[in-house]
Amino acid sequence: MKIDPEPDPAPALRLRNISKTFGGVKALQSVDFEVRAGEVHCLAGENGSGKSTLIKIVTGVQAPDPAAEFELFGERVNTISPTKARSLGIAVIWQDLALFPYMTVAENIAFDDMVGVTPRLYFGGRYRPRVKELLDRLNLPLNLDSLLVDLPIAQRQIVAIARALMGNARLVFMDEPTASLTHSETNALLKIVRALSVQGIAVVFVSHRLAEVIDISERVTVLRDGRLVGVFATEGMTQFRLGELMTGEQLKNVVHAEDFSNSEPVLEVEGLTRHGEFESVSLIIRRGEVLGLTGLIGAGRSELAHALIGMRTPDAGELILEGTPIRFNSIRDAIARGVAYVSEDRLSLGLIQPQSIADNTVISVLDRILGGLGLISPARQSRLVSHWIEKLAVKIGAPDDAVSTLSGGNQQRLVLAKWLATEPRLLILDSPTVGVDVGARAGIFRIVRQLADEGLAILLISDEVTEVLYNADRVLHMAHGKIVGEYDPRITNATELEAQIYA
């Protein structure tokens, strides 16, 4: 791994001394950033490192503090706005894609031509040939007249890329583009990125997936706490090293697996089937055990979890909870019987962002905080909230603060607290560290292991092989709706398991 020593004399983009202050907080401090023509460059950093702010500044959505220097393709630029950025050849694909759901593919792709011009007549016919030509040139098969809302996310991403390229972009920013893609969709996307690079278009890729970062890019710029850590060549870099650079901490990965075959089963699943989603799934989760479930996106893991908590009814098979066969009709059923599900979408499904921490904590256990006349007792609520906040070490300001004031890691702890308050027997965690900084993940998993030690049965679903290997007692591999392998983390290592999964 080398620190890149030679600055390119004619880079596509050169930023010097970029700072940005928001109300007393320095989001960026004197950051330099440089991208070469035709390169695939990664921007890496935790949440709060400043990478989103940097992108917003480059694309004109935010203005930097004075004394910033901005050079694009060798020319000095003083101020920049979204339309100006576009005309200079900068395009950005935001994580939420910023597309228009009820407009067609063609209308979305051609949209930026509608903005920043004097109002004039627009004939759809005039843009269609250009859009078609672009898609053909890039070999992207899309139906021009489909409504965006009807497309799966991978295709929407392609629409976003096509839209960026309509403006003859020479520098494209992609913010976490692979977050919701399956393995094959990710590969398809990375192929497109490489094709762009070959055409001389520079691509700046923001991703938290360390493996991808190292795989796709030539150089990586690492930001931490608003400051530049350094620019590194990715050849020869390891995920560990990159993680260390991003967090400033040494990460250790230790196998924690133990044998629980003598522990009594909490949940037994026999031959569970739901057509089109999963088939003949059988597994046992025992008291105190963490069972890992991994596989590619689309393998049916979340669908299986949904069936376990009553969100979907299985077509065949049996569920036995602590010895009793059961059938859940609703999520409420499952909660009442002691099964809790922490969904992977923490932001919009796990917590109600504008509401208070206190209310979010008790939302699933209202029956336990009742006082006189069957009304909610504020005292009981307060006690329950303090208990769980303390137990899970959630860093909060005040219980009445909105949940949105918490950091990603603390929000995830709060979600755990909320579900633990229901006193479950079985806790299902679906991708619990998505959107949580590398540094905060260790804390979450410490809690998970502690819960297991206290006797909770845990099903840990995750895309990241390392997460399950280092935190579970056994790991199941699910593919195409079936359980296809069981692994012991003490025997199998990450590389071997990944080979099985990506085979």
């Binding site: 910023a98 228009f100 949209f111 409504l147």
Partner: protein, 332 residues
């Protein structure tokens, strides 16, 4: 399904239902499918349709305007003062004055909404009360009968005498309606501004990031609605032959129901002029049909309300959405 059907499924289904109703009525009664009836339908609903296309633009942009009917009354009153002051005037002057006042009232809404970052339903409810209260206060509720002749004289763009001597005619308001409908259609379908309006209603944050001028969007949407309100008000005087300050009160909700029935989404980003026409005509033809069928006039509203309720429920069933469309979506 071909994509044009997918994109406009509400309009498709509504036109189908409307067709069925029309066919049914033509068979059931011999008075529906007559020139006299059709022209009368058009005459009676021209003003509603003018307002509907104005409201459509606001809905497409993701907002809502409750104040336009009252604004129309204000425009009527103010215009009357101007015409009397000018000592007469003519239709050209009339349109300029009415459109001007309408744009002005719409501008007030846009300024308050954008300038103070308050969502449109709150502001337009406030301006609704303010406009109506001030209007009634200054007019003391009195009608204005003394209006210039050019304004109240009937002008027909089409007339035909039937064999039994009765006349069928289309009056000027229908011509104005056609012009307004075409102009709105051109605005939202044929201009870059219209594309931006749809985008802004569809995804305001995405529009902002793409560099759409939010302020411009608000002005266009609310001023267009105001202009249509004013022009509609102008024509309504021609029909009613007097200015009645509280005559239009309450019409806004009926127009809103018709526009939404026609496929405009309260959250923004969807809606077509064709849908508007279908929505307004659906309500009008249903009412007309009930009348011709001899059903008690007191039952009209009941049946229409039930129909709309039914239409809303079934249209949502089709889409199978489990998420809730809420007030949140109609924010601007």
């Amino acid at each position: 399904m071909p994509n044009v059907f997918q994109k406009h499924s509400v309009e498709m289904r509504l036109s189908l239902v409307l067709l069925l109703i029309v066919v049914g009525l033509s068979i059931k009664t011999d008075t529906f499918m007559t020139l006299g009836n059709i022209t009368s339908l058009l005459n009676n609903n021209a003003v509603n349709l003018i307002w509907a296309v104005g409201l459509l633009v606001v809905l497409v942009a993701g907002g809502i305007d409750i104040s336009f009917a009252v604004a129309a009354s204000v425009v009527q009153y103010l215009s009357a003062q101007v015409f009397v002051g000018l000592g007469g005037g003519n239709w050209v002057v009339g349109f300029i004055v009415a459109a001007g006042f309408g744009v002005g009232l719409g501008l007030i809404n846009a300024l308050l909404i954008h300038g103070f970052q308050v969502i449109s339903i709150v502001i337009t409810i406030a301006t609704f009360n303010a406009f109506f209260g001030l209007l009634m206060f200054f007019t003391k509720g009195r009608n204005i009968y003394n209006l210039p002749d050019w304004w109240t004289d009937r002008i027909f763009i089409f007339e035909r005498q039937a064999t039994d001597g009765t006349w069928s005619e289309l009056n000027l308001s229908v011509a104005v309606m056609i012009a307004c409908v075409l102009a709105t259609w051109a605005l939202i379908r044929l201009t870059t501004l219209g594309r931006q309006l749809y985008a802004f209603g569809d995804n305001p944050e995405g529009a902002r990031r793409a560099g759409v001028n939010i302020w411009q969007m608000q002005i266009v949407a609310f001023c267009w609605c105001g202009m249509m309100a004013g022009i509609g008000g102008l024509m309504q005087v021609n029909i009613a032959q007097e200015v009645v300050p509280n005559a239009l009160y309450g019409r806004e909700l009926d127009v809103l129901a018709a526009v939404v029935l026609g496929g405009a989404r309260l959250g923004g980003g969807r809606g077509t002029v064709v849908g508007c026409i279908l929505g307004v005509m659906f309500v009008a033809i249903t009412q007309n049909g009930l009348n011709l069928l001899g059903i008690s006039p007191f039952a009209f509203q009941m049946i229409i309300g039930a129909t709309i309720l039914f239409a809303i429920s079934s249209s949502n069933l089709k889409f199978g959405r489990s998420g809730k469309a809420r007030l949140k979506e109609s924010a601007t």
